[in-house]
């Protein structure tokens, strides 16, 4: 039962009681750019890429309750410009060397940057050097690509019931932690069948010995821009990962 409708860029979008703007919009097939939201997981509000204007005020669409009659601006040049800025900040914060990343073409960060027309970073590169964690038999971590979306943290806690991941540190030193005595993935309860193993939207959590398997031209975001691919919901099969 729809609890009412709000206007998204002039189009009526129905919502249910308790819906956020983002959940209702995506379910209705409208793309609101986002990185840290997933239909199966709780809210985070970390990436701010879903920021929209609600009745003239800035708000994160993923944490804002839908209400009848709201006027929401989503894809305007000014809002997309702010999103491009956020993406540029994320890109310089990590080592996003797409030419050698196994996630290229299947990466939500990259696809969203394409969607926003991001051509260059324009900010100074951080050039992180966090060591790769290849201690797990079938999965590996490159935390220089991690955008701190916390999808793996929430997936492991809420769905897998394992709490393998957490965020530690402060400010620019914040980083992904593995919950094991040694801090290494191989010593945690992590398994490649976990939801957390597939939910990473970038190339930070990847399977071993399986990269570059999809021909260029057939990768997820080669085929159509991210705005034309609103994720299927509820079954966990069509999330950001593969």
């Amino acid at each position: 039962m729809s609890a009412g409708t709000f206007k998204l860029d002039g189009v009526d979008v129905p919502f249910d009681d308790g819906d956020t703007l983002l959940a209702a919009a995506q379910r209705a097939g409208h793309h609101v750019p986002h990185l840290c939201w997933h239909p199966r997981l709780g809210q985070s509000g970390a990436c701010r890429v879903c920021t929209v204007r609600v009745d003239g005020r800035w708000a994160a669409a993923c944490t804002t309750r839908a209400a009848a009659g709201q006027v929401v601006e989503n894809r305007t040049p000014a809002i997309d410009g702010q999103r491009r800025l956020l993406l540029q900040l994320l890109f310089v914060e990590g080592n996003h060397f797409c030419p050698s990343c196994e996630k290229s073409g299947d990466c939500l960060l990259q696809a969203t940057a394409y969607e926003m027309g991001m051509t260059g970073p324009q900010f100074e590169e951080f050039y992180q050097h966090r060591p790769v964690d290849a201690s797990h038999p079938t999965m590996w971590l490159d935390l220089n690509r991690c955008i701190l979306c916390k999808l793996c943290v929430r997936a492991s806690t809420e769905v897998d019931g394992k709490a393998v991941f957490a965020i530690g540190g402060h400010g620019v030193g914040a980083h992904l932690l593995v919950n094991s005595p040694s801090g290494r993935l191989g010593d945690s309860a992590f398994a490649d069948s976990d939801f957390a193993a597939t939910v990473c939207p970038v190339g930070a959590i990847l399977p071993k010995r399986r990269g570059f398997a999809v021909p260029i031209g057939q990768r997820r975001f080669d085929c159509a821009p991210v705005s034309a691919q609103v994720e299927p919901q509820g079954d966990g099969e069509g999330g950001h990962g593969r």
Partner: protein
């Protein structure tokens, strides 16, 4: 360049384009050549200044400068500054010029250690007594690889490793028409 080898060429005053590879792999230049027969059209429209494809040793006053590669050594910085001083519009072409690219993966390592590991330390295959080259003729490497916008102002970024020929063509034709280049789905990619 005129038939007499001078840069006069004032009669028709075609736009001048300079190109250079800094810490690049020349792949962006190869992708530029991938515009194929459109090169003939371009040759009618512009005059090439300093470029790996011409014999000019220094960059003259140009309308457009295309820079491939990041900055990995002192000579790269000198050449980039010359391009910035002489080119009205400077374009960072390819992943390396834009964010350092794959060569910037050396930034996690100490450059002195890298040189010793490659040229010294009794590396298998090296002649006895081999050591790090130290002739002043050789430019010293920088401690880290940098994208070019960290040293000079960049007017436009043309991403890709390399950018496709169609993206390069779209960029050059837009600039020649006095427009800012815009790349849509399929032309904008980082890999």
């Amino acid at each position: 360049m005129g038939a007499d080898g001078t840069r006069a060429d004032t009669a028709r005053a075609k736009p001048r384009i300079a190109t250079v590879s800094l810490a690049g792999c020349f792949g962006c230049h190869m992708s530029f050549l991938d515009i194929d027969e459109r090169l003939f059209e371009l040759a009618e429209l512009v005059t090439f200044d300093r470029s790996p494809l011409t014999d000019l040793k220094h960059c003259g006053d140009c309308d457009i400068g295309l820079v491939e590669g990041g900055l990995c050594n002192a000579e790269n910085v000198h050449v980039l500054r010359e391009f910035r001083a002489r080119c009205k519009v400077l374009v960072a072409v390819g992943a390396c010029a834009i964010n350092g690219g794959l060569p910037a993966q050396r930034n996690a390592l100490d450059v002195g250690r890298i040189l010793l590991d490659v040229y010294d330390r009794g590396r298998p295959g090296l002649a006895a007594g081999s050591t790090v080259p130290n002739d002043p003729e050789l430019p010293l490497p920088l401690a880290r690889v940098h994208p070019i916008h960290e040293v000079v102002h960049v007017d436009h970024f043309l991403p890709g490793c390399p950018p496709s020929a169609d993206a390069i063509w779209a960029c050059i034709t837009a600039l020649l028409a006095g427009r800012a280049p815009t790349l849509g789905h399929g032309l904008i990619h980082y890999d």
